[in-house]
Symmetry: C3
Subunit: 205 residues, 3 copies
């Protein structure tokens, strides 16, 4: 179940990466690279930070083929995708929650402490988007826009809390997903953002 959601999520993220590459006029190869990094970069950074070798996708060739294909197909269907705007927002939100939960589980199974588990979830959730933006030479959007990284944080906290309360696994998963999707959708609908810190002094360093 979580695996099916995961496969849908990495495909959606790959397509988001391909569009970002298109905005930078990258060639087919660049589109494939950015699609791959956006979809699997978060999990890769997590695995490296946690010393979790071999890195997950190196053991699942299907993830590689799926994300690259997703990226390349996007080139063909990009012109129709603006009509699917709503669908993609939902898929992206599902991806954010799925990545977060999976990231928490990986750190949990490796025996890390709670704050590291939470950070593992968030890293898996948001670092693909950060790598995408770094490669496309712009300030990471997930650190500036409507609640996104914060949704990942809330999902990680709720998921861990319910798990430790001994709540049934399926219910825990369902609760984390419902809450995460609800939060993210509300954030988009009403443009909810965290307060922004604007600082304009000259550098002191």
């Amino acid at each position: 179940m979580l695996t099916s959601i995961y496969l849908i999520a990495i495909t959606a993220e790959a397509m988001s990466g391909a569009l970002a590459a298109g905005r930078r006029n990258m060639d087919l190869f660049g589109v494939a690279v950015i699609a791959f990094l956006t979809a699997l970069g978060g999990g890769t950074v997590r695995d490296i930070l946690l010393g979790n070798f071999p890195v997950t996708w190196t053991q699942h060739s299907s993830y590689i083929y799926l994300t690259i294909t997703g990226g390349l197909v996007t080139i063909v269907i990009a012109r129709f995708m603006r009509h699917l705007h709503q669908l993609f927002l939902v898929l992206d939100a599902i991806g954010l929650v799925a990545f977060t939960v999976i990231g928490c589980n990986v750190a949990l199974n490796l025996g890390y402490q709670t704050p590291v588990i939470v950070m593992s979830g968030i890293t898996t959730g948001i670092f693909g988007g950060i790598l995408r933006d770094l490669m496309c030479n712009r300030t990471p959007q997930v650190l500036r826009h409507e609640l996104y990284a914060s949704v990942s944080l809330v999902v990680a906290l709720v998921y861990l809390f319910l798990l430790r309360e001994g709540i049934d696994d399926d219910i825990t998963l369902l609760a984390a997903f419902s809450l995460g999707l609800l939060l993210r959708m509300c954030a988009i609908r009403w443009k909810v953002s965290l307060p922004v810190f604007s600082y304009s002094q000259a550098r002191w360093q």
Copy 2:
């Protein structure tokens, strides 16, 4: 002793990161991420390069809490911080030296060769600032401004030299700190820089 200095240093670096995030109008979450990366990113890159798993901060939750708190507190006190300009320059210099010495020790204990030990020290010293600048979409400042990375290099070389001459550990540490702080302060005071390489030919590649 070195641990106390380290805790002060990562807090100061986290605050520097938060100000950089503020210059990019990041939200609270972005500020926390950049603060964390600036303070602990150098050590993380070092641990990964040296294959030193588990990464240090994953075993010390206090570092995580301290840097994130430091970043968030900065939002509140930023308006007063320009009056503390001098203090921050000193704290930042202390951080640079402390990070360098700690980085050398980590590689030393893992049995790496001398050039790798020196690079481990420098990486720990400067890579937090490099990650901060990458995330804020600007060319890394530490590679362009008054002696900064070079101070880290000198500290690493002197520290290793004294250690191998069999000088007492405390004296070695004191000498490295004095020299590093002196160099950095002089560099700031008289705007000492390394020669700059300016090249403006069209790309040949």
Copy 3:
């Protein structure tokens, strides 16, 4: 043989990195850092992704000295280098092929699956240039210009195919090099590029 080519290649890549640093007015230290990253960054990213510790260059101090020296010497000879334009394009192409073949071999020896082996080759071939461009705050050129990353892909595929057909190692190597150089030279000569994906819709995410 492959080792000699490798040493020439990392020197050429280091010089390319130094020129990029000069375009950003970096100081001597910055030039050394970018030269090192451009030459050895691809192999470093590969080793980390594959969990191949210790990272190769940490066991070969000569690589460290060679690339940093190459970067610094470039500062002196940069004014003459535009006359060597053609030579550098050839050296860079040789580097691309050598890095790709070496990257494939590393993953092969670690027992990874075919797609991971191919990606290991490409990562070794192109990631130094990507890191160089990220540090110099520009969109990675290798994902946008004449066939470059694609040459790496073709070389990796042909190399693996011949190897598995049981063809003699030397002939396999020779074939991979000939094909790679030919492809890259043709791409430069006739400005062959992959199709570019241009997308200008507002962000949907």
